[in-house]
Symmetry: C2
Subunit: 196 residues, 2 copies
DNA sequence: ACCGAGCCCTAACGTTGTTAGGGTGGCGGT
DNA sequence: ACCGCCACCCTAACAACGTTAGGGCTCGGT
């Protein structure tokens, strides 16, 4: 049995190493280099070994995307240090597009069609929850009753996603995308603050 | 020489037929079925013929994306029938996400990484111009001086893109995305209308 | 000491984008 | 009217991809 746990530990370890290798390849050489054989070579195994840990490439990619969402979550949570809620909003917007700009390939995978709707939903839930909390705190602080917090949250999330995407796929450039995201969020909040 | 023009006409014709076949396959069977061999079969040729008309697959895909942007342009321009500017704005938002919902695979290709930044910029320019015109007309109608129309335009374009994407890649559903896009645009405009 | 079970590799299959090379048919010049 | 050339089009192939099959090796338990 003791050997059994060791084996299990080793299994989990190589699984982890595969994920790390995938992230390394993805970030440094882009999605076109993200190949089963390439990853296997990086962890010093032959290609079929990967299939002992992941059903197929999409399952592995999903894991990479989930890792990406965890990274993003950490960055977004770090904005909690800012006590002023409005400033924190601006910081969150900036942080979101900064993440997309600093990890373009990972970001691409996170939003790519390789991971399906439900899995992405699950992976992004925690990060979205941060935004939702912040949004309810904001509405409380400004005595604004948002008709539907979840709707507002989706709107902001979609807006950030859209502008950040413009930043990394169009020629807009990420610094401009950062400013635009901030302005968009500021304008949205201002719009919500004024009474109907 | 007369035969020369006929040949040229035939060349252009098969090129066009290839594009049409590509669109047909893309819309009906999705991006995974969009294969050189598949398209060639559809136009009753062998695969290498495609390379007499397009340098590589990406060049063909770019053409499909450009066609998609022309279709979208036509739909967006149709909103000009609405005389009320605010209503037209709402209609444009709805039309945008409707397009994404009705042509998900085409929309995916239009915004996918297969077409590079500059080419997309060029293909989307006309459609964006419609939005920009509408936005300046709106600002004039409401006596609002937008700090930078182009910035506002990019913000709206990015927002629509983001929310529409949420509609077709997440489980949000397109009808919800439509409502959200309208609400987002309405809120943005309200935010711009209130004086600083 | 043997035997079984897990680990890991080589080899292969089917499919993709893409290129090379040959055959064929019609057009222009003599 | 014939001949040569050119453009068109096909078959065959290559490299790389995801993925699967099958066999050998090693290690632990009886």
């Amino acid at each position: 049995m003791s050997t059994g746990t060791r084996r299990a530990r080793e299994r989990a370890s190589t699984r982890e190493r595969i994920i790390e290798a995938g992230l390394r390849v993805l970030e440094s050489e882009g999605i076109s280099a993200l190949t089963i054989r390439r990853i296997a070579t990086d962890v010093e195994y032959a290609a079929p070994i990967v299939y002992q840990h992941f059903a197929n490439k999409d399952a592995l990619v999903l894991e990479l995307a989930a890792h990406g969402y965890r990274m993003m979550l950490a960055e977004l949570e770090q904005t909690a240090q800012e006590p002023d809620i409005d400033r924190r909003m601006m910081q969150l917007a900036l942080e979101y597009v900064r993440f997309a700009g600093e990890h373009p390939h990972l970001y691409q995978v996170m939003n790519g069609p390789a991971v399906d709707a439900e899995d992405r939903r699950r992976a992004a839930a925690a990060a979205i929850a941060v935004l939702e909390e912040l949004l309810t705190a904001w509405s409380a602080a400004h005595d604004v009753v948002l008709a539907d917090v979840e709707e507002a949250c989706d709107i902001v999330w979609g807006t950030l996603y859209g502008i950040a995407s413009l930043g990394y796929l169009d020629t807009i450039g990420n610094e401009r995308a950062g400013r635009l995201a901030q302005q968009a969020l500021r304008t949205l909040l201002r719009g919500w603050r004024t009474d109907l």
